[in-house]
């Protein structure tokens, strides 16, 4: 069975109105129709196509035999057909593979450098040439992926958990809990992420652990996530299905986990995907400022930072890690865009 909405063939808005009135007026008696639609004045006549020439057509049809799909299945359908999502996913998977198994892609040890090779141009086996210390740029680019990708992914996970929990608690319980948590959020919101990160990381300048960056970025990055989760939870909390569920005897906590959280996940997922790229850029920026990872850790940010002085003489040493960083960030941002399009049907209509 199909249900559909039928409209008249439309050539122009005004004409179709006349079409409709012509059609209806057949059923009304002529004098009644005259009252509503008086004869046009001279010069105001307009052509109205007969109904045979502009037949009824379907503009919207729903196949009611197909089982209803959830929002997630619908989003997945949209995503699978979005070329931007396919390209960005392939790129992201490639980057993650490189990060997981760098030895499959590069044979050279990124830390084995011979000064004799300093700034040598590319040659067989070393496609990107050598940097100032005589390290192979290609293998440094490959091995640097792990640092950036793990910082990006781990920070995103921690930010989502921390911001999500704080936002959900504030939005769900309201009252003084919300007031308190919102003030805490305001305090962290007023500190620019970079500024807070520099002050904090200054203390751990010599540490080579990735966790110092991950925790710092989480500490100053959870605010936006908390705000978004809070508003999504507040919106979902007041929807009818919660009242229905309460009437059926479910406890508020059960409502929270069974109904509210699943219904407020969409903006959180969008935010998480798009912000992953930002964290990767932040790590590079912190390394550039000299408060990120020390030069002994192979990372794109560190390599870009050390290559900055070579820009005038050997721009390629700067170019390759920058390009790798940009491609990775681009992949995650594009993926976030595609996910946003799929989860937000309103932005899809156009």
């Amino acid at each position: 069975m199909r249900s559909s909405i039928l409209v008249f063939g439309m050539r122009e808005g005004a004409d179709s109105m006349t079409d409709m009135t012509m059609n209806e007026s057949n059923e009304l008696n002529q004098s009644q129709a005259k009252v509503f639609f008086p004869d046009p004045l001279p010069g105001q006549e307009r052509f109205v196509a007969p109904i045979e020439e502009t037949p009824l057509r379907e503009v919207d049809s729903v196949d009611e035999d197909v089982p209803p799909t959830s929002m997630w299945a619908d989003a997945w359908m949209t995503l699978r057909h979005n070329p931007m999502f396919i390209i960005s996913t392939i790129l992201a998977i490639l980057v993650i593979l490189v990060a997981l198994f760098p030895s499959l892609f590069a044979r050279q040890d990124p830390s084995a450098c011979t000064l004799a090779n300093s700034l040598e141009p590319a040659r067989s086996g070393h496609p990107f040439g050598f940097d100032l210390q005589g390290c192979d740029v290609y293998s440094r680019v490959i091995y640097g992926a792990r640092t950036s990708v793990s910082i990006g992914i781990m920070t995103t996970i921690l930010v989502t958990i921390l911001g999500g929990v704080i936002g959900a608690v504030a939005g769900f319980f309201g009252g003084w809990i919300d007031a308190l948590l919102s003030r805490v959020t305001d305090i962290f919101f007023a500190i620019p992420m970079l500024l807070g990160a520099i002050v904090l990381l200054q203390m751990f300048r010599t540490s080579t652990s990735l966790w110092k960056i991950i925790f710092t970025l989480t500490l100053f990055g959870w605010v936006n996530m908390a705000r978004i989760t809070r508003s999504a939870v507040m919106e979902a909390k007041n929807l009818e299905f919660n009242t229905a569920s309460t009437a059926l005897g479910s406890s508020p906590i059960r409502n929270l986990f069974r109904h509210i959280i699943p219904n407020s996940l969409a903006p959180v997922i969008v935010m998480a995907t798009t912000s992953m790229g930002t964290y990767i850029v932040s790590e590079a920026t912190l390394s550039f400022l000299g408060v990120g990872l020390p030069p002994t850790v192979v990372s794109w940010g560190g390599d870009i930072s050390t290559a900055q002085n070579l820009l005038t003489t050997n721009p390629s040493v700067l170019f390759y890690p920058s390009a790798a960083l940009a491609i990775t960030v681009l992949a995650f941002i594009m993926m976030g865009d595609a996910v946003k399009d799929a989860l937000d049907p309103k932005s899809r209509t156009a």
């Binding site: 305001d186 305090i187 970079l194 900055q308 005038t312 920058s322 960030v329 594009m334 156009a350």
Partner: protein
């Protein structure tokens, strides 16, 4: 409106207190002894060190230091830097430069972001939209400092179009390139935001109504689509002023501008708590006031919002 304004101003107090306390605690926890570092290679003279410590209240417990700092800050007496200059005069010298830089970046990102966003949104799917979209994505994914290096090299070093570094008392031309670099990432975000808003608003019912009323395309776009699309853009711009001040740390380092960012960065490296917290306090105040102004602007832009 007046009541709402008062409530918001009262809410600002815990935010400013909390933020300064947080930063003060972080700076206080910095390892290393800044006083010992002042002596450099020479042996530390304990009497002098003790005198310096008491002058900067470093011998007192953390919370006392913080309260003393707050008390003095209320009278704009931020004390002296370790080098002996009054903090107020250091800030007074650095601030105008950064404010100039941030304002130029702000105007740049606002004007070009909105213009390109409108072009992209109105020509969705055409080549102009695709070019704008790809360029804005590129600007977001390349870190600011790389963009900065490349522009500095091309325009400053290779072609000699603009000065490569700014130095002291920079003029408009000196700050042009730094401002473009500083505003570039935010501009890309504004392009994307404006474009998304326009494409979603243009299919709204009220746009169809406006067209059905016989309004010209120009009127529909200007009066209905733009006015509704720009509300989130204004929010973004307002929140971005704080970000610009923070981002100035990178730009000022690349182009050697003696502004707040550079001063702040040097102060963090030296562990000069007073100077760091003084600058951060001012930055936070600017940020909080900007977000208040943005909320007030809402009422002007969106007639549905009325503050009681």
């Amino acid at each position: 409106m007046g009541k709402y304004l008062l409530r918001r101003i009262l809410q600002m107090i815990p935010v400013v207190l909390g933020t300064t306390l947080l930063i003060y605690a972080l700076v206080f926890a910095l390892p290393g002894d800044p006083v010992a570092a002042m002596f450099g290679d020479k042996p530390v003279n304990q009497a002098v060190a003790a005198q310096i410590r008491s002058e900067y209240n470093l011998d007192k417990p953390f919370i006392v230091q913080y309260v003393l700092f707050l008390k003095n800050a209320l009278t704009l007496n931020f004390g002296n830097t370790f080098a002996g200059q009054p903090v107020v005069s250091v800030i007074g010298r650095a601030f105008p430069v950064t404010v100039k830089l941030a304002l130029m970046a702000f105007v740049f990102e606002g004007v070009f972001g909105v213009i390109f966003g409108i072009i992209g949104g109105l020509t969705k799917g055409k080549w102009s939209d695709n070019v704008i979209l790809v360029l804005s994505l590129l600007l977001i994914s390349v870190p600011t400092f790389v963009t900065g290096f490349i522009l500095q090299y091309l325009f400053g070093v290779k072609w000699h179009v603009l000065p490569a570094t700014a130095g002291a008392n920079p003029g408009f031309m000196d700050l042009l390139m730094p401002a473009v670099v500083l505003g570039s990432v935010s501009m890309a975000s504004i392009i994307r935001l404006t474009r998304t808003e326009i494409t979603s608003n243009i299919s709204e019912d009220y746009v169809r109504t406006a067209r059905a009323k016989g309004m010209s395309n120009r009127q529909v776009i200007l009066r209905h689509v733009l006015r509704n699309s720009l509300i989130p853009v204004v929010t973004y711009l307002g929140a971005d002023i704080g970000g610009l001040m923070g981002g100035a740390m990178i730009t000022e380092r690349i182009f050697n501008i003696q502004g707040v960012g550079n001063t702040l960065f040097q102060a963090i490296l030296r562990g000069e708590g007073t100077l760091v917290v003084s600058i951060v306090t001012i930055l936070v105040m600017i940020f909080v006031i900007c977000s208040l102004v943005v909320d007030m602007l809402y009422a002007v832009l969106d007639p549905r919002i009325r503050y009681a």
